[in-house]
Structure formats: structure tokens, C-alpha cells
């Protein structure tokens, strides 16, 4: 008898090999994963997606907001990464490369949807007043998240990306410059203007 529980021995071997491969890939470095992905190993690319999805989510959702559009942009980031992986020369870190794709695609999406009117400050104040009812910790955390999200949405996109890198990723100026592909001086000036804008927005909220 060569089958067990409806599975043939080859399928069982294949499943255990798949499991083994994903366990091995979980501990592999980026270079190994890239090489394996380029040779057509889907599990290796799955590991890349798993490894960097939270990072991309912070960038995309931080800039666009927690929405279905952000989910789509997130998917596009990894599809773009997959198609351009053969051009990745390893001169920078994979995370930096992914950051740049994520920021560019997000800025494109923001440009596309720019015509859709942004929420006015008075609307924001009303919704925040409605939120400030319960003292429950979880609700307060949600309120903070919503407050940050709304403030970010009101920032100019180029300032938004700098703030997201600092505030959500915890990057210093050099890391922010690297992730965005900008000179350090530009990051510093954008940071200062972003801070000013953020101050005005939060004071009004």
C-alpha cells in the first residue's frame, strides 16, 4: 500500500520538503532568499513577503491610511519587487530597496487620488470630539492611532514620507535618507518643515 490518509508517498515527501524548506528559509539571509527566488523558488519569495510585509504596511498605511487601497498598494509593492528582483544588484540592503519601491508606489497612489477632497479640519475636530467619550484603554489607543493617521493625512506627501520613516520605523536621519533615496540635507529640511506642519495640524485638532 503506497498511500496514507489519501496522500501518496510522493505528496507526503513533497509536503515535508515544503515544510522543511520554509523552516530553512525562515533562518536564511536575504541574499539566499533572493537567489532562491530568482531560480523560481516560490517559498523563498513567500519568506521575503512574510519578512517585510509589516515594514511595508507601516510605510504604505502610514502614508495612505489604514484602507483597502493601502492593501492593494502593499500587494503592488511585492509584485514590483518580484519583477525587478533580477535588477537588484545588492549594493544596498533589500529593506532599503523595498522601502524605495513602497514610497514611490505610495506617492504615485496619492497623486492619483489627489483629486478626491481631503477631510476638512472642522470635520476632524467633530469626529475627534465624538471619539473622546470613553476612558477605556483600547479605545484611547485607537483614538491615538486615528489622531496620528488624520494628522499624517493632512501633511504634504513628501513630508509624510519623512515623518513615517522617523515615527513609525524609528529611523535616524541617515537611515531615512537612505530609505527615501534623498540627500541628508533634504531630509533635515523636510523634517523641520514637517514638524512645523504637524505642530499646526495637531494644535488645530
Amino acid at each position: 500500500m503506497n498511500s496514507w490518509g489519501g496522500y501518496g508517498i510522493n505528496q507526503i515527501n513533497q509536503l515535508s520538503n515544503t515544510h522543511m524548506a520554509s523552516v530553512i528559509y525562515r533562518e536564511s539571509d536575504d541574499e539566499t532568499l533572493i537567489k532562491a527566488s530568482l531560480s523560481g523558488d516560490r517559498l523563498a519569495f513567500t519568506e521575503i513577503v512574510n519578512r517585510y510585509s509589516n515594514m511595508v504596511a507601516r510605510t504604505v498605511k502610514g502614508m495612505i491610511g489604514d484602507s483597502m487601497v493601502a492593501e492593494d498598494v502593499g500587494q503592488e509593492v511585492f509584485i514590483k519587487l518580484f519583477s525587478s528582483l533580477k535588477h537588484f544588484r545588492g549594493e544596498s540592503k533589500l529593506s532599503t530597496y523595498i522601502h524605495r519601491i513602497a514610497v514611490n508606489l505610495t506617492l504615485n497612489e496619492i497623486k492619483k487620488t489627489k483629486r478626491i477632497s481631503q477631510p476638512s479640519l472642522s470635520d476632524e475636530r467633530d469626529s475627534l470630539r465624538q471619539m473622546q467619550v470613553s476612558g477605556d484603554d483600547q479605545i484611547e489607543r485607537n483614538e491615538t492611532k486615528e489622531l496620528v493617521e488624520k494628522a499624517l493625512q493632512m501633511l504634504e506627501p513628501k513630508y509624510r514620507s519623512v515623518i513615517v520613516m522617523r515615527m513609525l520605523h524609528g529611523y535616524d536621519t541617515r537611515e531615512t535618507a537612505e530609505a527615501l533615496g534623498l540627500p541628508t540635507g533634504t531630509v533635515l529640511s523636510r523634517l523641520s518643515r514637517a514638524q512645523e506642519q504637524m505642530r499646526n495640524i495637531l494644535k488645530k485638532l
Binding site: S53, V60, A151, I163, M167, T173, Q195, L202
Partner: protein, 117 residues
Amino acid sequence: MKPAELLKLIESGLRPEGRADLLSVRMRSEGVDYAFSKGFTDKVISRISEGVVVVNRQLDFARSLNSIFYRVAFAGVAAIIILLISIFISEGSLSLNSLVGISHDLDEGLIGLLTVN
């Protein structure tokens, strides 16, 4: 967190010399963090697989078109070579006159050709 508190926190972390790493940790503890929905990875992989299938189909079509082109080109070249050999055998040379088929006419002038008979 109130807007004023949040502003103070953000300003402390956003200064060039400020600790952005501490700010991000604090933000996460305040619930300001993002992740994609469940099944995100599967969606990405299935979209990539669909794309790969389409690309492979396009590649197959291009490859078959390429092989058809080579077959036609080889057949054409073979026909030209056979034609040249047959002209050489029948005419004894591959001069322009032989190729055009007027090598046997003595008078090569146009009027001669038109009035010889």
C-alpha cells in the same frame, strides 16, 4: 493620548538629534502600528503566479512565432540557392543577363531586343 501630548512626543522624536527609535517604540505601545490583513502573503503569491502564467503564455507565443520565422527564412534561402544553381547549369554563368534571362540575345540594345524578330 491628547493632541497636545502627542505633539510633545512627536516633537521630541522628530528633532534631528532626537531618538526616533524610542519614538517609534512609544508609538507602537500607544497602538500606532500597521499590518496587512490576514492572507496578505497568499494574495501576493497568487497574483504573482497569475502574472507568471500570463508571461509564460506570451513567451510561448513569441517562441513559436520565432520558430515559424526561421522555418520560412530557411525555406526561402534554400529556394534562392536552388534557383541560382539551376540558372548556372542552364545558362553557364550567373551574370545579370543570365539572371534576367536574355543571355542568348546577341543584340543587347533595347531596340534590337524589340525589333529582332
